[in-house]
């Protein structure tokens, strides 16, 4: 039996996901799909992608390895930054 704190956290995250699903469904067809950037425009833009689109894009990014590579590169940079930063050390008094 998860603790009250964990259950409440799960409820909050679930509520957030539900709100997003509703907003994406309501926005479908209502939100503009042509976005103007100055003199140019981008077409077929989903301002609030549906879960289906997100899953599809997520699967592509996973299968192509793009997501994993990007995560590894960024994590490596964060790790090196942490390592060097903590080695140099914060000043005693800011």
């Amino acid at each position: 039996m998860p603790s009250l704190r964990v259950r409440r956290g799960a409820v909050a995250l679930l509520a957030l996901a539900v709100v997003y699903v509703i907003a994406a469904q309501v926005g479908r067809g209502r939100l503009p799909d042509r976005i103007w950037m100055g003199a140019h425009y981008v077409e077929n833009v989903q301002l609030l992608p549906t879960w289906h689109s997100l899953a599809e894009e997520g699967a592509f990014l996973l299968e192509s390895g793009i997501l994993l590579d990007s995560v590894l590169v960024s994590s490596g940079r964060v790790f090196i930054g942490l390592l060097l930063g903590s080695w140099i050390g914060p000043p005693e008094r800011l």
């Binding site: 409440r8 799960a10 909050a12 957030l16 976005i35």
Partner: protein
């Protein structure tokens, strides 16, 4: 106090002398600009017009005056760029601080709110502010919004934690003493918890100021036609498919100006914090 000021001036002078010597020893003005180039670029960027000598530059190095001239033609000055970035930072602080403090206060004061909001906060704070720029541009177009919203967001996210801990860590004896005297609800919050949490909350102000500057300049470097970020990228480094030009003096002037502005705002935040929490010392 006078001794401290003297030490400040001496250490600054020593730094300038050391830099000048190192720049001369390295003799690579395209990477480490001499102090006189920096001073020249500084004067030019203030709009006092000058031309730097190009005699001792390597052939592949396009001299800084090209860059400074381009900036001058575009009406870019150091003070105007600094004013624009400062305005964005102040906007971010004015909107982001109340939002972050409110969320931190709510989470710190109510266990129930903390349980519900904490996981969402952890998710939100993991998103780097600059990663929002493209999505904001899709929603709101190419406008001031994609420079301001990341700063507001960064400040708000940073302000949550000190407020949260400040309120949560208020010494139990204060709360118990106030409760035993009959203080409840709003009275307890306004007269005991908030004043006791103030040092921690205001301590977070300094971090928020630093984060606001970092985010504002980062956003300007990515997508802005003005401000310090634009000055650093547009003035300091320019590239096309055919050539790359750089002016390290402009970059150094920009970095020094940012350091000075950040330091001044940090001093202001420290002074305000010290004044408001004088009772705690």
């Amino acid at each position: 106090m006078a001794r401290r000021s003297l030490l400040w001036i001496l250490s600054l002078a020593a730094l300038i002398v050391a830099y000048t010597l190192v720049a001369r020893a390295i003799s690579r003005p395209d990477v480490v600009p001499p102090a006189e180039d920096i001073a020249g670029a500084f004067a030019a960027l203030l709009g006092r017009g000058h031309q730097l000598p190009a005699s001792d530059m390597p052939a592949h190095h396009h001299h800084s005056s090209d860059q400074v001239d381009t900036l001058m033609q575009e009406g870019v000055t150091l003070q105007a760029s600094l004013a624009v970035t400062t305005a964005r930072v102040l906007f971010g602080l004015a909107v982001g601080l109340p939002l972050g403090m409110l969320m931190g206060l709510l989470m710190g004061w109510s266990r129930r709110a903390d349980d519900y909001l904490h996981p969402i906060y952890v998710l939100i704070r993991s998103v780097p502010p600059l990663s929002l720029i493209t999505y904001i541009m899709l929603w709101l177009g190419h406008s001031e919004a994609h420079r301001l919203i990341p700063v507001v967001y960064a400040v708000a996210v940073t302000a949550v934690i000190p407020t949260y801990h400040g309120v949560r860590d208020v010494a139990g004896k204060y709360v118990v003493a106030a409760r035993s005297l009959g203080a409840r609800g709003r009275l307890l919050l306004a007269k005991v918890v908030l004043p006791a949490a103030a040092p921690a909350v205001l301590g977070g102000l300094r971090y928020s100021v630093a984060i606001a500057w970092m985010t504002a300049v980062g956003a300007e470097m990515l997508m802005a036609e003005n401000g310090m970020g634009n000055l650093l990228v547009g003035g300091g480094m320019w590239s096309s498919r055919l050539q790359t030009r750089s002016d390290p003096a402009v970059i150094v002037v920009g970095i020094l100006a940012l350091a000075a502005a950040g330091w001044a705002m940090d001093m202001l935040a420290r002074t305000v914090s010290a004044r408001l929490t004088r009772w705690a010392t």
